[in-house]
């Protein structure tokens, strides 16, 4: 849910404040002697030191950002109408992500996203913010706003497009405010843990939170319209050999409040989601696959709406060049009034090439063939994604 839309002026102030905080930036792999002079010296390098008071008066903070710019050209063939084209440039999300070390087993993370819309206004959205208490590898718990424990994509790539292989998230794991069908954000608490047995690992993760609001865009951040909490559970088994294989099931339950503003949505919905995922990564190949089956049952009328979706993406790693391809499908039930008319079924085949210019900037070239009801489209997309 959007926390509010600010005018540009307010955004400039907020951005300036965040950039000021960048003086606290800690590099990804911190050199212990970074504080030493750049001038050559005969003195031996001093071991790890610290700025006086830095860890005494305030916790250590790491700030990073992600951003992207995308150029898109789409050619549509509309049944019975003819062909048309769309081409445009789009600013992506400016994602400021902060991690703070409060104590050996307590940490804080926030992810604040600035996103411009078609009206040239900028929205600020608090995508993730939580405090995490870690007892051991076997148990951690955190409170705040999280990415829900669905599969691998939602908790691996988050909002920084640099880290994900493709230009966009697969349709079934899109964010709620980008037309997504899953409750990918959860406000409440999350917990999890893992154990290892030689080359095997077993992991659990769960979310208990407010659940969804009356529409699929709503993430109930400050209150909950009903007392029933949404519950998500994911189990993962992993195996290490030449590469790393992860797979497992997940389930999600929620009660979705009525939406009196939409005729036919006077009843509460029971939401059940089951899914499974399989991910494989080695130094040459990556396979990402997830399947979800979403069922909504209207507790007033008894009507049921089923919306399955899945994706399968393969990436080959040639160092800086990473060709990829995949299939992405969402069969959303268009009679399900919870989703609204803007969410439509999609079948998408895609091929692309990711070119890592360096560790912090990647160019992605992608071709897509989309089939939506009544429309066949071919799309060419070029994106530069980077972190700072």
């Amino acid at each position: 849910m959007r926390l509010g839309t600010l005018r540009r002026r307010a955004v400039k102030v907020a951005t300036a404040l965040c950039l000021s905080a960048a003086t606290l930036l800690i590099p990804p792999v911190a050199r212990a002697d970074d504080g030493d002079s750049a001038e050559p010296t005969d003195e031996p390098a001093r071991p790890i030191g610290r700025e006086f008071g830095a860890s005494d008066i305030a916790p250590r903070l790491s700030l990073h950002g992600f951003a992207d710019v995308t150029a898109t050209a789409y050619f549509d063939d509309v049944d019975g109408v003819g062909t048309s084209s769309r081409n445009y440039f789009a600013l992506g999300e400016l994602d400021l992500f902060l991690v703070s070390h409060l104590a050996d087993n307590v940490s804080f993370l926030s992810e604040i996203v600035f996103e411009s819309d078609t009206d040239a206004e900028v929205a600020v959205e608090l995508e993730r913010i939580f405090i995490k208490y870690t007892v051991s590898d076997r148990f951690w718990i955190s409170l705040g706003r999280h990415h829900t424990a669905f599969g691998d994509w939602n908790e691996t790539y988050h909002h920084g497009l640099l880290l994900q292989p493709t230009v966009a998230r697969p349709e079934v794991v899109q964010f709620e405010d980008h037309g997504g069908v899953l409750p990918v954000h959860s406000v409440g608490f999350a917990l999890g843990g893992r154990v290892f047995k030689r080359s095997w690992g077993f992991e659990y993760a769960a979310n208990i939170g407010n659940g969804r609001g009356p529409t699929s865009r709503d993430v109930q951040t400050g209150s909950d319209l009903n007392d029933q909490k949404a519950v998500t559970l994911r189990l993962t088994a992993s195996h290490e050999a030449k590469g790393r294989l992860l797979f497992g099931p997940m389930v999600h339950f929620d009660k979705i409040p009525p939406n009196p503003a939409v005729p036919g949505r006077e009843g509460e919905l029971t939401e059940r989601i089951v899914g499974a995922y399989l991910t494989y990564r080695d130094d040459r190949f990556e396979l990402l696959s997830e399947y979800y089956y979403i069922r909504h049952e209207d507790n007033l009328t008894g009507a049921r709406y089923n919306s399955p979706g899945y994706f399968l993406i393969g990436v080959v790693d040639f160092g800086k060049l990473k060709p990829y391809g995949g299939y992405d499908r969402l069969d959303v039930d268009t009679d399900d009034l919870f989703y609204g008319p803007e969410i439509t079924p999609l079948k998408r085949g895609l091929v692309g090439l990711r070119w890592d210019l360096n560790s912090f900037n990647a160019l992605k070239f992608e071709f897509r063939h989309d089939i939506r009801p009544g429309v066949h489209s071919n799309g060419f997309v070029v994106q530069t994604a980077f972190m700072f």
């Binding site: 800690i26 911190a30 790491s62 087993n105 690992g201």
Partner: protein, 149 residues
């Protein structure tokens, strides 16, 4: 420790040997190679409840084609940087590992700190106070030791 092996049919081959060293408070005497990789890849983060694993890198260990990058991480330095960023972003860690000037400094830090672990040349461990961990029950210098090339 540098071991020189000779057979009648071959020229002498210089073998680089590496040791996993941990702080004195870490109650580990031996670990398998899978666990070494899990610890350095930041998948296993705690020695025991309340005591987190802290990695120390030496400058040598993150040089191109270093043993640590080639055999343990199986990636280059850029890949390691990306891994650290991803782990921060995924809230798997909240601090990046430290890098110190040399293997000897790394050993000194590990010896004087708590919960620390480093991979260093075996020669750097001589006379230092850090604990050398056996790999699959085999200590450096013994036949069958795994961390050699």
């Amino acid at each position: 420790m540098t071991v020189v092996t000779t057979t009648w049919a071959e020229a002498p081959a210089v073998v680089e040997e590496y040791a996993v060293v941990v702080s004195p408070d870490v109650d580990v005497k031996s670990m398998d190679l899978e666990r070494v990789r899990r610890l350095f890849l930041l998948r296993e983060r705690y020695w025991r409840p309340g005591r987190s694993v802290k990695l120390i890198f030496s400058e040598d260990s993150v040089e191109p084609r270093s043993f640590l990058l080639e055999r343990i991480y199986r990636m280059n330095y850029s890949g390691l940087r990306r891994l650290i960023v991803e782990k921060l972003y995924q809230e798997e860690i909240d601090l990046a590992p430290k890098v110190v000037a040399s293997d000897e400094v790394a050993v000194a830090f590990v010896a004087s700190g708590r919960g620390l672990i480093a991979l260093v040349r075996t020669t750097a461990t001589t006379g230092a106070g850090a604990k050398v961990v056996a790999i699959d029950g085999v200590l450096p210098g013994m036949p069958g030791y795994a961390l050699r090339r």
